[in-house]
């Protein structure tokens, strides 16, 4: 039991530069492996998705957050709890659509891009696209289909980084195979 108590769910510190550089190495390698930026964006999204579907379990284990009652609550939990826990930043939630099914996360700083400058020949690269995949994968596991994309990016000269999230539908829990 002693080893188990060491492996509790408290967050462990990690050197943020190592994290940033590791992510940079990953994106660089993808740029070498794939012909065009669109394909790299797609791969980043896919990787993020695979991370997201597992990360949500860790998130639920660590935080005492239960099921959210509406999309506004979800937005708050993502910004104030999840981003804080995993990236150490707290984006602001703004630009709600009138129907309440779409909002933006505004990131004043983005730890993934600390040392990054986009070269001219990668103008279509969405460098932090992994984050979109993570959000999409994590929310899918809690029965929410969402569309996530970067609307603005400081890397491309915008003033802020803006992630736009759109609620698509609730995913009904599926019955085991064989049931009607």
């Amino acid at each position: 039991m002693s080893r188990q108590s060491n492996r509790t769910t408290e967050s462990k510190k990690m050197n943020s530069e190592l994290f940033t550089l590791t992510y940079g190495a990953l994106v660089t390698q993808l740029c070498k492996d794939y012909e065009n930026d669109e394909e790299v964006n797609k791969q980043l999204d896919k990787m993020g998705y695979n991370i997201g579907v597992r990360l949500i379990e860790d998130f639920l284990a660590r935080s005492s957050v239960g099921r959210c009652h509406d999309f506004r609550e979800t937005a708050d939990v993502i910004a104030k709890v999840a981003f804080k826990m995993y990236l150490g930043i707290t984006p602001s939630v703004t630009n709600w659509s009138p129907a309440g099914d779409e909002f933006s996360l505004i990131l004043e700083s983005n730890p993934l891009v600390d040392f990054v400058e986009l070269p001219d020949n990668h103008s279509n690269l969405v460098y932090s696209n992994l984050l979109c995949g993570v959000l999409r994968g994590a929310l899918e596991m809690v029965q929410m289909a969402v569309d996530v994309r970067f609307a603005q990016d400081m890397l491309r000269g915008d003033n802020v980084t803006e992630i736009r999230m759109k609620f698509i539908k609730r995913i009904e829990e599926n019955l085991p195979a064989g049931d009607e």
Binding site: E57, L60, A61, V142
Partner: protein, 135 residues
């Protein structure tokens, strides 16, 4: 706290009585279908329990479900108190740590991690109310 509804079934599964008070949501199916669903669940639990403990059909079923739909069910005898924290610990310190965070363990398949099995075994055996003898 409140009361949502009450069912009384006869021995053949017919619903003899139903009434509801503070029910916040309707099932979206006819009452007859809902009675069948409820009775089907009871029937399944009963037949499951009788296969597990032939002498005594008293037991406690502890259930924990995460927002991601992971469900943990633990059956104990009646003396065991509320197990919510324990089931949450099984999820957070065992399932998440040894299965979800292990990239070699595919999700959605039966778990084949020796480490998880042995940790779970020692976790359960270390519980204050664990005793190999029933009763």
């Amino acid at each position: 706290m409140t009361v949502h509804n009450l069912y009384i079934f006869d021995r053949n599964g017919a619903c003899l009585h139903y009434s509801e008070w503070n029910r916040k949501k309707q099932a979206g199916i006819s009452k007859e279908e809902e009675f069948k669903l409820m009775y089907g669940m009871l029937f399944s639990i009963r037949s499951f329990v009788s296969k597990m403990s032939p002498l005594d059909i008293r037991y406690k079923l502890h259930y924990y479900e995460t927002p991601t739909g992971v469900k943990v069910v633990m059956n104990t005898d009646l003396g065991v108190p509320n197990c919510r924290d324990i089931l949450h610990q099984i999820y957070s310190t065992l399932y998440v740590e040894y299965i979800v965070k292990n990239p070699l363990c595919p999700l959605g398949e039966s778990l084949r991690s020796e480490l998880f099995n042995s940790r779970l075994d020692s976790f359960i055996k270390a519980l204050p109310f664990f005793s190999a003898r029933a009763g």
